[in-house]
Symmetry: C2
Subunit: 168 residues, 2 copies
Amino acid sequence: MTVMANNTALDEAAAPPPDTPVDLGPLPDLLGYALRRAQLAVFQDFHHAMEAEDIRTAQFSVLEVLKHNPGLRQTQVSFALGIKTTTFVPLFDELERRGLPERRPIAGDRRAKGLFLTALGQATLARLEALAATHEARFVSRMGPAGKAHLLGLLHRLADRAFDPDLG
Amino acid sequence: MTVMANNTALDEAAAPPPDTPVDLGPLPDLLGYALRRAQLAVFQDFHHAMEAEDIRTAQFSVLEVLKHNPGLRQTQVSFALGIKTTTFVPLFDELERRGLPERRPIAGDRRAKGLFLTALGQATLARLEALAATHEARFVSRMGPAGKAHLLGLLHRLADRAFDPDLG
């Protein structure tokens, strides 16, 4: 390819037409890029599946943690899920406004509140779990249960801080 | 477990102590949750690796696309990478302010500009690619090249819209 400096015509001609397929270079072979694209596809389907219930992934995760750990403090929930406090507070406020969780006093700790699902929250979560199971099955059908098990093992290996203490 | 309604003492006692391990329930077995945790761990390491260069994942992706497709229009770049226009514009403006890409006129299209790497952008990207390779190798060492190849195949299967036309 001949390089012609100061040639305006060349500069102008160098642009590919709008319908040219885009070459992503090394990106599809990088774990971070591939993880992000897969995560976006799965989250998009999750939000589509939960549309009628108006629930997003992080809200679903919070409700599950409260179901399995009634009375947890806010900081414990947000830390366990890797959600920043500044993100968690409005997220939880919104769920509380809808009557799904509630805060109650904790014995021996006058300053903290324990977070609990309400009866409405428990009933709602049962419906959400059924929708989540259908959503999950859609993606498992692409690789089979063995493929999913293998994938989860590899993903947990990536997320495991024990492999790299510097990450902590 | 006995349920005692209207018992304040029970309500207060029900909260687990602050150092109780959190039970994540079904979350670790859901693809979306496992993908998100893995992606966050890999992105966190990427940003750590790129700290001295002050480059984030999406900025790196944009520079790679410009390297492999000089003259692409902004809408083509953002669409190919799945970045919303409202996110892409400030991201690109910041890169342009740092002199890494530039906009040039396109022949036959008076309204659009083509995006190109500058010489500084090309030199910078060469350094970033070396850092990205070291970062990538850290995670590949957790599963070996065969594990990475298997993982990429499964991730691409999740991201592939061809499996579910409704997602498009």
